[in-house]
């Protein structure tokens, strides 16, 4: 007797193929998703002249890391890396701080006008980012933050979405904990730091991951807000590199590959949180 329920066992031969067929489909798709990256690695390791015929030979005749060296020689790639991490890191930190504080105010304190202001926040979420592009540029220009780290960090340090996410998360923490702490003599700040924040940790992690990834990949804002080369972040730097040295395909691929590694690492380590975060954001949406 097999272990398959009669529902599965009583299906025709065509349907019996369903399971292995699905697996084959998944494998084929998996391969098609993996191959471009492998391709990228191969090109980045080949010689410039071999790029176009790599499809015929299937493998470079010689492997070398020359392309990688060229990347660092021709542009201040390390600086780009540093900039990306620096900016993304600061943005993440600031976002987590300001959004959690704001979320606390929206969820834990009853104050007049609270709901109206929150509605305002929500309203701006509906506004597409397009509308903000031009005015923000002017504002940042006006504040003197153009072509400066502050221009990249400060505007991004605030996020209505992040506030929204954390507020929803905090709402799931029972208020009886606040009340018990208050009776024990704690003021709001203490409740925030010692009761709410530790319990909201998963939400904070999710926000941090999202903020970091989003900012790391952010292209448009750095594009219009920075000019000097030593302020370039990876996406802009890559584009610039391609414009100037576009014919050096292995080097381009090497640079792109290096830029892709941090998100991959982040993802592999924190997959769980990322997945949960997407679902959290959607359910409340």
């Amino acid at each position: 007797m097999s272990d398959r329920s009669p529902i599965e066992a009583a299906t025709g031969p065509l349907a019996k193929l369903a399971r292995p067929a699905t697996f084959v489909a998944l494998v084929l798709l998996g391969i098609s998703f993996v191959v471009p990256f492998v391709w990228q690695v191969l090109i980045s390791l080949s010689d410039r002249s071999e790029v176009d015929r790599l499809t015929e030979t299937g493998f470079p005749s010689r492997i070398s890391l020359d392309a990688y060296v060229r990347v660092f020689d021709q542009v201040p790639f390390a600086k780009y890396f540093f900039n990306s991490f620096f900016v993304a890191g600061w943005v993440t930190l600031l976002q987590v701080i300001t959004c959690s504080m704001a979320a606390y105010a929206f969820s834990r304190i009853q104050w007049p006008g609270r709901d109206k202001v929150f509605l305002l926040y929500l309203g701006t979420l509906m506004v597409p980012g397009v509308v903000l592009m031009v005015p923000n540029f002017v504002v940042i220009l006006g504040l003197g933050m153009f072509d400066d780290y502050t221009g990249l960090i400060i505007p991004a340090a605030f996020s209505a979405y992040g506030t929204f996410l954390l507020r929803q998360f905090m709402l799931t923490i029972p208020s009886s904990l606040d009340e018990a702490a208050a009776i024990d003599g704690a003021g709001h700040w203490r409740i925030f730091t010692q009761v709410i924040l530790p319990l909201a940790r998963p939400g904070l992690i999710v926000l941090a991951i999202f903020a970091f990834l989003f900012n790391y990949n952010s292209f448009f804002w750095p594009l219009i807000l920075t000019q000097s080369e030593n302020l370039r972040v990876l996406p802009v730097g890559l584009l610039q590199f391609n414009t100037t040295y576009g014919s050096d395909v292995p080097a381009i691929m090497a640079a792109a590959l290096m830029a892709m590694i941090p998100p991959i690492i982040l993802f592999l380590l924190l997959q769980k949180y990322l997945v949960k975060g997407i679902q959290l954001g959607a359910v409340k949406g």
Binding site: L26, G30, T55, R114, P128, L132, M133, P135
Partner: protein
């Protein structure tokens, strides 16, 4: 609650302040500011600290210019481009659903088999080590590299074989690794693998795809080339009638099928068996199937013509084209002006295939096909013998296009990439979550009621996922209308007709004249469009999910 009302307000403000300042300064304020700007003629090149002119309030003039005025031609073109790229959306949503269903099915283990996971990792590492050893031991190319016109270096046959062997080993390794991971790590692996593109979507990824789309050395064309070549060989060696016939038959069959299905659907609707939603869904699916099938038949009908240019693909220079054109004007019934137009459009030089198809696009010339073929064939012969200026290049017929440079194929290229990027992303994860929330007892009740697998999908899975789908569609529409900028900038620099609305905005505001006012107007028009689409989706969708 602690403290008095007033005190609470102060404390709340203290918590809120940094966030609030940012909000007002960079979100709420700018929105209003933007609206104002859209009503002015602000240009940074005209109104800056060095100029004396002041910003003028011009009301809706910007909007007028965009929607039906000077810029409208560009604007609506770019709108079309944006919408075209949005084809990727429904396809990728369907794809995400499909992937989620596949991953969720028992085809692959739900949880990694714990002992096996470590075994698998070990296995992968050892395989990688072997590969590495083999590769390092492979013969190296000659130091001096001589390139011919097509880039081939001077390698011995042995070396080429060694490289191909390495490539094969690598490929086998990949396949093996994927299969092993699929069998032992299961769901988690596929979920992660499919999510990678979304995760990495950015300039780096677009640069990779730019390489993939390279006409000669790119991965995509090298896979397409042999496939197209095979099709071409088959078509050329079979009578054209078969293809015309199949194409026409397919078209008729499709129409008949659609007709019958719609009739059945309508009668069911009238008998109150199914609701409006089902009818609409049927119409939608039929439309999609119909368009694809009709498109397919169109391709079939054109195949003979397109492939009928085997070996020896030449190109003509301008003089030759003019000569052909003059000869064509002598054909009975031909409009000389039309021929002139065609000849001018072909420009300074064109391939034989393009010349032929351009000429045949004229209705009269199409009727005189034989004479056209004769004229072109003669010239082609002369080119081949070097008697007439022209180039003899490689194989003709069905060739994979130069994706990113061809105005015909650039947008489809972006659409394909867009689908690849989005298919395994957030939407798939949302669907996976949705699927796991469906109670098993619903499926069991359906099985007892006698529903087949497909019927179970339609009656249990799809309705249960309706809220998720609703959300996804809305979010995707909002994002889709604003997207495409990064891709276009990195991959085509806006050429080949790939400029989308956001790109247009960027050009207006941040290059050339820095026309901030006009650009803001563009943004607000887009906002209105997004709003309208969202409202439509909302109204339509919430009625659907509650039906």
């Amino acid at each position: 609650m602690i403290g008095s009302g007033r005190k609470r307000l102060l404390i709340a403000l203290a918590f809120l302040l940094p966030n609030l300042i940012g909000f007002l300064l960079f979100t709420a304020g700018p929105v209003v500011f933007s609206l104002y700007m859209s009503l002015t003629d602000w240009q940074l090149t005209k109104h800056n600290q060095y100029s004396t002119e002041s910003v003028k309030f011009i009301g809706f003039e910007n909007y007028a210019r965009l929607l039906w005025g000077d810029e409208s031609h560009l604007f609506w073109d770019y709108f079309y481009n944006t919408v075209f790229l949005m084809i990727a959306i429904p396809v990728s949503i369907a794809g995400s659903l499909l992937l989620a269903v596949w991953i969720n099915s028992k085809a692959t283990p739900q949880k990694p088999k714990s002992k096996m996971k470590w075994g698998m990792i070990g296995l992968a590492c050892s395989v990688a080590a072997c590969l590495g050893a083999w590769v390092l031991a492979s013969p190296s190319a000659a130091q001096d590299v001589m390139s011919t016109r097509s880039g081939m270096t001077d390698l011995t046959e042995y070396q080429v074989q060694a490289m191909q062997r390495n490539g094969l080993v690598l490929f086998v390794g990949i396949v093996g690794a994927v299969i092993t991971a699929g069998l032992f790590v299961g769901q988690m692996f596929f979920r992660a693998a499919f999510y990678l593109p979304t995760l990495l979507a950015g300039v780096a990824m677009f640069l990779l795809w730019k390489t993939l789309y390279r006409p000669r050395g790119g991965l995509i064309n090298s896979v397409l080339d042999p496939i197209l070549g095979g099709i071409e060989r088959v078509v050329v060696n079979t009578p054209a009638v078969i293809w015309y016939g199949t194409g026409i038959l397919l078209a008729f069959a499709t129409l008949a099928f659609i007709g019958r299905s719609m009739m059945a659907g309508l009668s069911r609707y009238k008998a109150k068996e199914t609701g409006g939603f089902a009818l609409f869904g049927r119409a939608f699916i039929l439309a999609t199937v119909g368009i694809s099938a009709l498109g397919m038949s169109l391709v079939l009908v054109q195949l003979p013509e397109k492939s009928l240019l085997p070996s020896g693909y030449e190109s003509f220079d301008q003089a030759t084209i003019l000569a052909i054109g003059d000869e064509m004007k002598g054909v009975e019934g031909v409009d000389a002006a039309e021929v002139d137009l065609i000849v001018n459009a072909l420009g300074e030089g064109a391939s034989r295939a393009d010349t032929l198809s351009a000429l045949l696009s004229d209705p009269v010339l199409a009727l005189n096909r034989a004479s056209v073929l004769e004229a072109v064939g003669q010239r082609s012969e002369r080119v081949r013998r070097g008697l007439t200026a022209g180039h003899e290049t490689e194989r003709g017929g069905l060739q994979p296009p130069d994706w990113l440079l061809s105005s015909r194929w650039a947008k489809p290229a972006l659409v394909i990439m867009g689908i690849w990027l989005a298919i395994g992303g957030g939407n798939m994860l949302l669907y996976l979550a949705g699927l796991s929330n469906i109670p098993q007892s619903l499926y069991e009740a359906a099985a007892i009621d006698g529903a087949t697998g497909w019927q179970r999908f339609i009656n249990v899975t799809w309705p249960q996922l309706a809220p998720t789908t609703f959300f996804i569609v809305i979010m995707s529409t909002i994002g889709g209308l604003q997207g495409g900028f990064e891709q276009a900038l990195v991959m085509t620099e806006g050429k080949a007709d790939t400029i989308v609305l956001t790109y247009y905005l960027y050009n207006l505001a941040f290059t050339d004249d820095f026309q901030l006012g006009l650009a803001s107007a563009v943004a607000w028009v887009m906002f209105a469009m997004i709003f309208a689409m969202t409202a439509f989706n909302f109204r339509f969708g919430s009625r659907l999910t509650n039906e």
